[in-house]
């Protein structure tokens, strides 16, 4: 009996002491804030925040990965409580609303077989992915409708789910249940900075529009007489619809599926029609503005790209300020494009609309002359973006007294650099030079820099070693000369302090061994680009700084756009003159403006800029049709030229303002639209 007491008692004591010791030895520090945040959360574990439960979200919130306002179920009260725990100000989150992304029910789409099984999409999806030929089409059995905990979904007349936006809380139940991932959560902000990916339903015109306007959707709104919502859809992607209506080369119309039957829809004239409608009302459509944090952002350059960037940043509730060297905003649109093609009152109207969203503009301000990076950071700007657009950098940069440009500290285009050398200007204190170039001119310049006193010259090339000119392959000899060649390498970021460059970050694109854990940085005080223009740099304050003197500010550039992880984009893509947006048409600068917005927004909210995966870049990458059936030809509507001057010839020769479509023709034209999806389109029955 006593033995039993002793053994069990002894066992208990040994285990107790062992566990006590173990809890000391294996102690893991848990931030008390995590517990406090977890207490504040409702504990419903609904998963609306995107994490598996409230405790996982609490960890993410304290770790800075999730927003204090991320709890969908808790709402603003819980957000305020969490913000108090963390001691931060809350930035309210725009609600995500679920939105179905399929436009043709099973009865209207092409199907592989007739499904008569269990009335549930998940069951239907088990049979070869569902009855539809389209791999991403709605199966229309209403699983999402039955699952919605807030009764926000119903089945519409065409067998597609319809969302009651008033009731939708954005919990994401439907998104998780839908086996085809058709119904997704989205918000206006997400659409403004989003790009099309291959697994969503897009029309050919939409994919070929450089800025990505949802063309079928806005034409649908014209058909329904909702001109204002048509304009709102356009402005989610394109802030200058009237200007584009005048001068866009309209690649969308080349892609239009109606070309297979008769003639493309007049997409651009339709866009101009709704924009004309806005201009006639004399007011600007008040755009939706997401609640935001209001950081100050400086935009250097007031052309199409800078205007786009400022417009979307303002709609995301930042405070953008445009710095323009010329007396008026508009860049190439104002100072280059003929007034016959783009009336200036149209331009003024559009710029006025952008300024109304809360954009500040300072004209007659030249970078490197009236202000520079240091002075902008001192003024309190969190981010500085360079959007010089189509103008050559030399046009707006003021040469500094030493003879070469100084808008971005110690970064030069190769032409300028060689030109100043040829005029006998010496390299000022350039000890460590980095040249991005793959050719002999780069090597020649490197040798010149060596002769003039540079200690170390690095040539960075995105080409592989064996693709370089033979002179650049002899690493041993070049090293003896003090020139290092780095093949398969891209420069991803610049780091500097106040008015000087300190380091450049490089990444190997084709590593022979293992990938470096972190991006390598090499010391550099001069960077020379082979391109004729400077890339679109985005500068932010940097925390790490070596040799920082009082009053100085450390900065770095962020990489604005990457399509896939490990992509060899860098600040100069191959072939070298690269990471500069193509400004061959205004609509292309709009796209780069939106991409910069995405980068800045992601950087300021999440701290990282994730690469976009499965980006739609070519129409071939997605499912498409080659033939169109059951569509009868009809003639394309054209602007009624005689209506304007009474004389058709005059109207074309001197089009002081050439006419757009009138309402009747616009309606007729909108009726011609086939409202295409990936493979569906409107057929005549």
């Amino acid at each position: 009996m006593l033995g039993g007491f002793l053994v069990i008692g002894g066992l208990g004591v040994v285990i107790g002491v062992g566990l006590a010791l173990a809890s000391k030895i294996f102690y893991v520090y848990v931030d008390p804030k995590i517990e406090a945040v977890e207490d504040a959360l409702p504990g419903a574990n609904c998963g609306g925040c995107g994490y598996p439960g409230c405790s996982a979200n609490a960890v993410a919130i304290v770790g800075g990965k999730s927003s204090p306002a991320s709890c969908v179920a808790g709402g603003p009260d819980v957000a305020a409580q969490i913000a108090e725990v963390l001691g931060v100000e809350i930035t309210l989150k725009e609600p995500d609303i679920s939105r179905p992304g399929c436009y043709y029910g099973v009865q209207d789409a092409d199907v592989k077989y007739l499904y008569q099984g269990i009335n549930d999409c998940r069951a239907a999806a088990l049979l070869d992915g569902g009855a539809k030929i389209c791999p991403i089409g709605c199966l229309g059995l209403g699983t999402c409708v039955r699952a919605c905990p807030f009764d926000a979904l119903s089945m519409g007349p065409d067998n597609l789910p319809v969302v009651d936006t008033e009731r939708c809380t954005g919990c994401g139940t439907c998104e998780r249940l839908c086996p085809k991932h058709i119904i997704t959560l989205t918000s206006t902000s997400e659409r403004m900075i989003g790009e099309y990916v291959t697994d969503e339903c897009t029309a050919p015109c939409q994919r070929d529009c450089p800025t990505g306007i949802n063309i079928p959707a806005f034409i649908q709104e014209i058909r329904n007489n909702n001109y204002e919502s048509a304009l709102a859809i356009i402005k989610e992607k394109c802030p200058l619809p009237l200007i584009c209506g005048y001068i866009c080369p309209a690649p969308c119309e080349l892609a239009c599926r109606r070309n297979l039957v008769d003639e493309a829809i007049a997409i651009n004239p339709l866009k101009r029609f709704v924009s004309d409608y806005e201009m006639q009302t004399g007011k600007h459509l008040t755009p939706f503005k997401a609640p935001g944090s209001g950081q100050k952002i400086a935009i250097v350059g007031g052309g199409a790209e800078g205007l786009t960037l400022s417009y979307y940043l303002a709609r995301l509730s930042y405070h953008p300020t445009i710095f323009e060297a010329k007396p008026q905003l508009g860049g190439i649109l104002r100072y280059v494009i003929a007034e016959d093609r783009l009336p200036r009152k149209v331009l003024d109207h559009e710029i006025e609309g952008i300024l109304e969203t809360g954009v500040e503009a300072r004209t007659n301000m030249r970078m490197g002359h009236d202000f520079d990076l240091q002075s902008l950071f001192e003024e309190g700007f969190d981010v500085i973006a360079l959007t010089k657009g189509g103008f050559d950098s030399r046009q707006i940069l003021k040469p500094d007294p030493s003879g070469y440009d100084a808008s971005v500290p110690s970064v030069f285009t190769m032409l300028d650099f060689i030109y100043s050398l040829s005029k006998g200007k010496n390299i000022r204190e350039s000890r460590r030079v980095v040249i991005i170039h793959s050719g002999l001119e780069g090597l020649e310049l490197a040798r010149k820099c060596r002769d003039m006193g540079a200690q170390k010259v690095t040539i960075v090339s995105s080409l592989k070693a064996h693709e370089l000119p033979i002179e650049l392959q002899d690493a041993k000899r070049l090293t003896a000369e003090g020139i290092i060649v780095r093949p398969s390498t891209i420069v991803t970021s610049l780091r500097g302090i106040s008015r000087r460059l300190v380091r450049v970050a490089i990444e190997e694109t084709d590593p022979i061994g293992e990938l470096p854990e972190e991006t390598m940085t090499i010391r550099a005080d001069t960077l020379i680009l082979a391109a004729g223009r400077l890339p679109e740099f985005v500068f932010v304050r940097s925390e790490e700084a070596e040799g920082l003197e009082p009053g100085e500010i450390a900065w770095e550039t962020i990489e604005s756009f990457r399509t896939f992880p490990g992509g060899n984009d860098g600040i100069c893509t191959p072939p070298e003159p690269g990471r500069i947006s193509d400004s061959s048409a205004v609509v292309k600068s709009l796209l780069s403006g939106r991409r910069l917005t995405r980068a800045i927004h992601r950087y300021l909210t999440d701290g990282t800029i994730p690469p976009i995966q499965h980006l739609v870049c070519e129409a071939d990458a997605v499912l498409d049709v080659r033939e169109v059936h059951d569509v009868s030809p009809s003639e394309r509507e054209r602007p009624d030229i005689l209506d304007v001057t009474g004389d058709s010839k005059r109207a074309w020769i001197f089009p002081s303002e050439y006419p757009g479509l009138n309402e009747a023709s616009a309606k007729k034209e909108a009726e011609r639209c086939l409202r295409c999806g990936l493979i569906c389109y409107r057929k005549q029955k």
């Binding site: 033995g3 069990i8 062992g18």
Partner: protein, 191 residues
């Protein structure tokens, strides 16, 4: 060697802990609604059962048998298994955080899993050697995971079927479990 192979087969199939011995039915019905959780639970059981089998064998042969206290077996095993799970949880959290977060909630749940206790007692009653104990514990755990995964697969499909209202969820689950168990009876003929 043949003995061991026979032992493994009999523990996994013939004497399957869930379907033939009816131990551990609580997690069998509780975490079998989704495949992911079933796999997680299966892994956690493999991990804990092997450790518990080994430790309880040591406690039994070194402590209880030496002092002739076999009547305290159940009591001391509960104590040992419960604290073992606690200890393993602490250890994993510190040393292998990835495994800890992978097993998640299932690790503490095992404390109350009677399959673990059952296997430990069977090991002693059958008077297995230490090595045999390790092998049977592992095999029983694999059998547990197998049954759980099979059952989860079936239940994922059952959700889609039209089940009469009174039979939904646990009821139909139990009916299915019974049928699965009948299927496993076929293995009786093997040995």
């Amino acid at each position: 060697m043949t003995d061991y192979i026979l032992l493994v087969v009999s523990c996994i199939f013939v004497n399957n802990i869930l379907l033939m011995q009816y131990l551990g039915n609580c997690p069998f019905l509780g975490v079998s609604k989704r495949m992911e959780t079933a796999v997680g639970m299966g892994m956690a059981v493999v991990f804990v059962l092997v450790m518990a089998g080994a430790i309880t064998w040591i406690v039994d042969s070194l402590l209880l048998k030496t002092f002739g206290l076999e009547y305290l077996r159940t009591l001391s095993f509960i104590l040992v298994i419960a604290s073992l799970v606690q200890f393993v949880e602490m250890f994993l959290r510190k040393s292998i955080p990835a495994l800890y977060s992978g097993l998640g909630i299932f690790l503490p749940l095992i404390t109350t899993n009677c399959a673990v206790m059952g296997v430990c007692l069977i090991n002693i009653m059958e008077e297995y050697s230490f090595l045999q104990t390790l092998v049977t514990s592992f095999s029983y755990a694999v059998g547990f995971g197998l049954a759980l995964v099979l059952f989860a697969g079936i239940r994922e499909r059952i959700i889609l079927a039209r089940v009469p209202k009174p039979l939904q969820d646990t009821s139909i689950g139990l009916v299915t479990a019974g049928m699965l168990s009948l299927a496993f009876f076929a293995f009786k003929g093997m040995v």
